[in-house]
Symmetry: C2
Subunit: 120 residues, 2 copies
């Protein structure tokens, strides 16, 4: 995306991300529409806590994983902070639920149901 | 998609579509993640009735529109019937809501909110 948020209080450790009002439905849906990215969202949704990138077990190379984290961040689905040499991610649950009520929950529940069917 | 549904009662006018259990979340989300396709879903959601393809007012060529209808149909988002020389579309609301409860509603409401913000 070419436009970036103006962070009210500059946080040098926060990676560039769209402000809430810049988040767009089609970009969020595109970000969800990938199994690896959905896996990241799924892991972050458990406990809704911050997670370091290295604590995800993703079936892709490090550079591919970095790409997927960036797609999620630029879509407004996650925030990423630098903490030392690590990047820590969290879901932007409040922002997404304010813009698109129920969407993130229904996607997470739909993903869970899909996985249960795949294993059946 | 390479797999097709086996329609219990063969309907020669029904275009190929995945059976309910073949519909996948990532494919549905990808189908939603396009403004033209979201416009088709929006129009079909109003009144939830059948609509002939020519009754949509889409900002794209006929062949591009046909492509978007096919993406929606192959994802399991819409059904299409041949009626004479026309193709009539409808949302697969029950199938989607059975698989991914609340997803279609939250996407439709999110789209409405997005458009209201765009016009503000």
């Amino acid at each position: 995306m070419s436009t970036r948020s103006s962070i009210p209080i500059a946080d040098p450790n926060l990676l560039d991300q769209p402000a809430r009002e810049q988040i767009r439905l089609e970009t969020v849906l595109h970000a969800f529409a990938d199994p690896v990215r959905m896996g990241i969202v799924r892991d972050l949704a458990v406990g809704r806590s911050d997670m370091s990138c290295i604590s995800f077990h993703l079936p892709v190379s490090k550079s591919t994983a970095t790409h997927h984290f960036r797609v999620l961040r630029e879509a407004g689905v996650i925030s990423q902070h630098k903490r030392g040499t690590a990047r820590v991610s969290r879901l932007r649950y409040e922002d997404l639920d304010a813009l698109f009520p129920g969407l993130l929950d229904s996607v997470i529940h739909g993903d869970r149901a899909q996985r249960a069917r795949d294993l059946a």
